[in-house]
């Protein structure tokens, strides 16, 4: 295992802009390249805040600590710079963009990664998109639909996985991708992540979840328990199983 982590979070404090109360309170975390980590925690523990701060959401502000991604501090970077550097956030609540097809959107996103006058070749892009959809067992007509407009919960999450497949991130942050999905939809999403990982074992995944069940389908290298803005326990997959038995009640007192 490489000694330089792809992501290193050191004593991170963060809050909502214009509010005083910290949500993240001295969080530490390290991910080596190619690892899958799961962060589990009760509602309100700050899991989603962590995902948003890592992706650069303008509504949150890091007040102390450091986040080093591939050796560079990223807290000062714009969200688009982070994205172009390989960070991807799969949203808990993907946003609707009426009138913009998924295909058009992805082409624009790939175009944004190019320098100067370089342009995404339309035919290459189409081939690539069809290939990625095939990998995820998706119907090509899906890409012609306007982004998340009228999508079911499952479709929205599959759309996130498709974007991940096309944009090929180095670090995928998955913010409660499993929430609100029935078991079939959950399996489809988990299979998608597994396929992308098989294809690119170097892809690092930080899986944020409330429930243990997605970990039946995606095997994490490490599981962390997050309570009140901090990691309170870290270990192997067994941590998730313990939580499954005991719930978060042990941590309520903290």
């Amino acid at each position: 295992m490489s000694s330089t982590p792809i992501l290193k979070i050191d004593g991170l404090y963060a809050k909502v802009v214009d509010q005083d109360i910290s949500i993240l309170k001295g969080l530490d975390l390290e991910l080596q390249q190619g690892e899958i980590h799961a962060i589990m925690g009760p509602n309100g523990s700050g899991k989603s805040t962590l995902a948003k701060v890592l992706a650069g959401h303008p509504g949150y502000e890091a007040t102390a600590g450091e986040v080093i991604y591939r050796g560079e501090p990223i807290l000062e970077m714009d969200p688009e710079e982070r994205a172009c550097a390989g960070v991807f956030l799969a949203f808990q609540y993907p946003v609707e963009i009426p009138g913009v097809s998924i295909a058009n959107f992805l082409r624009t996103a790939l175009q944004a990664r190019l320098e100067g006058d370089d342009e995404v070749d339309l035919f290459d892009f189409q081939d690539e998109l069809i290939e990625r959809m095939k990998l995820l067992d998706m119907d090509p007509s899906f890409a012609e639909r306007p982004i998340n407009d009228g999508f079911s919960g499952g479709e929205k999450k599959r759309n996130e996985i498709l974007q991940m497949a096309v944009l090929r991130p180095s670090l995928a942050l998955m913010d409660e991708t499993d929430s609100g999905l029935d078991i079939d939809a959950l399996k489809i999403v988990a299979n998608g992540v597994n396929k992308l990982r098989e294809e690119d074992p170097e892809m690092t995944v930080l899986l944020i979840t409330h429930y243990q069940r997605i970990l039946n389908y995606i095997n994490p290298d490490k599981v962390h328990v997050m309570v009140d803005g901090k990691i309170v326990q870290s270990g192997g997959p067994e941590v998730a199983l313990e939580l499954e038995d005991q719930g978060y009640s042990d941590w309520k007192e903290i």
């Binding site: 303008p58 969200p79 688009e80 949203f91 963009i97 009138g99 996103a109 944004a112 306007p146």
Partner: protein, 471 residues
């Protein structure tokens, strides 16, 4: 991005049609308007007496009508009108070949890409410069089928009976203050006649250019679509940017005979010193279909409500409009549908985008007369606000006299959301790219109806405008 920073960085210098030609004209009236000027215009055009009488009567109607108090701010218009030139003749005669058009004027239209488009995708082209059509041409295959596409002046000269039968029947001078003004001083515009059963496969296009400072352009267009005929007419407008205001007030009358179909597309991209007050109306007879596609991107103030008067059973009218209002702009636009026969159907889809301190208003009328049984109308207006300072209003007027009819109205206002922007940025797009994508998606239902070159142009324009919107 803090809101105030966004607004401070608005940059409207991107208007690429703002270039000014060297001023040349062979004749112009002195600034301002009175009876003598109306007589001069009529005399220059060697008009029959009835037209001079018509003009003079319209002038009195114009003078008698008060300045409208509704819609946009017209409080400074009276001052402006005292200083503008109501008639400027740019060259001696209208030409049928670009080679005969004076070099500087030809260059202007070449910069606007007109001759090129004419060769590639159009059935015919008319080009107006200041007050007169300087060029008009129709491809032989259509001329041989009896299609007439000419300047309005030549329509009056060469087809006096057809002209007089329809002229001012759709929009009488007294309809509103500006239709009266246009009726008094009209100059330029197109006369179009599509004979029975003829389907024009490619569009006709008229292009309107104002070059002179403090200029008033008053084109008048009359279109007659015979039974079962079909055609598409496109109108484009641009002008240089001056510190003083200019004025454009057109009247467009369209008569659709039974079973005919006509589409009128406008892409108005006047400079931001232009008052643009236009009356457009179509009389739609039995089973005919009229479509207005209206893009209002430029001007200082636009007041324009394309109308369909559904006069015959089964007539259909459709109005689709996009309005874009940036700093210093007010787009007061919408549409009117009047149902005056049974089984008539109509739809209005209006989308507006307001940026910076821009304001867009939807103003529309849906009227269903008694006896128009089973009439159906649907109105949908959506407004998108880019900043907290931009403004949008909706003024829908609905008057229904017939119980056995169905009228629907839906209005939405949305603001480009921080979550939408973050979503797109988290995929690698800059704020400008994200904004442009959202706006393009918003207008997509209408943009996809535009001829390709205009759709491309519209997208390019939105990208430019969004580049200017972010600091």
């Amino acid at each position: 991005m803090p809101e105030n920073e966004l607004i401070q960085n608005l940059d409207l210098d991107e208007y690429k049609y703002g270039f000014i030609d060297q001023e040349t004209h062979v004749f112009r009236t002195r600034p301002g308007l009175d009876e003598d000027i109306v007589r001069q215009i009529s005399e220059r055009k060697e008009e029959p007496q009835w037209m001079l009488d018509f003009r003079l009567k319209a002038l009195r109607t114009y003078e008698a009508k008060p300045m409208p108090k509704w819609g946009g701010d017209l409080s400074k218009l009276e001052e402006t009108l005292e200083e503008i030139y109501f008639y400027v003749k740019p060259q001696d005669q209208m030409e049928r070949s670009w080679d005969d058009v004076p070099e500087n004027i030809k260059n202007t239209f070449e910069r606007l890409g007109i001759p090129e488009a004419e060769q590639k995708v159009l059935a015919g082209v008319g080009a107006q410069y200041e007050s007169e059509m300087v060029y008009h041409s129709l491809k032989d295959e259509w001329e041989s089928q009896g299609v007439i596409f000419d300047s309005i002046e030549d329509g009056l000269k060469n087809h006096p009976e057809l002209f007089r039968e329809h002229f001012a029947t759709v929009i009488p001078p007294a309809d509103n203050k500006f239709s009266a003004l246009n009726s008094a001083v009209w100059s330029g515009g197109s006369f179009v006649y599509i004979p029975r059963g003829v389907h024009l496969e490619t569009p006709l296009q008229a292009y309107f250019r104002v070059n002179q400072e403090r200029m008033g352009q008053f084109e008048r267009t009359l279109i007659i679509v015979e039974e079962g005929a079909q055609a598409h007419y496109i109108e484009g407008c641009t002008a240089p940017v001056y510190s003083t205001d200019s004025f454009h007030s057109g009247v467009i009358e369209i008569v659709l005979k039974r079973d005919s179909r006509f589409r009128y597309t406008t892409i108005q991209n006047w400079s931001n010193n232009m008052y643009n007050l236009v009356t457009q109306r179509a009389l739609v007879n039995e089973n005919a279909t009229m479509e207005w596609l209206d893009g209002n991107l430029g001007s200082k103030l636009t007041m324009k409500y394309p109308s369909c008067y559904l006069m015959g059973e089964g007539a259909h009218g459709s109005i689709m409009s996009i309005a874009y209002a940036s700093d210093g702009q007010h787009q007061d636009t919408g549409g009117k549908v009047v149902h005056a026969a049974p089984n008539t159907t109509s739809s209005i889809v209006s989308k507006s985008i307001s940026k910076g301190h821009g304001r867009s208003s939807y103003r529309g009328l849906c009227k269903v007369y008694e006896g128009s049984t089973n009439a159906r109308s649907n109105v949908e207006c959506d407004a998108l606000l880019i900043n907290d300072t931009s403004r949008t209003d909706t003024y829908p007027y609905i008057e229904i006299e017939e119980k056995r009819s169905t009228v629907g109205h839906e209005a939405t206002v949305s603001k480009v959301g921080d979550e939408q922007l973050f979503y797109l940025k988290s995929r690698g797009m800059s704020e400008e790219e994200a904004m442009a994508l959202i706006v393009r998606g918003f207008i997509e239902p209408i943009a996809k109806e535009l001829p390709l070159e205009y759709a491309v142009e519209l997208n390019r324009l939105i990208e430019l405008e969004m580049e200017g919107s972010v600091g």
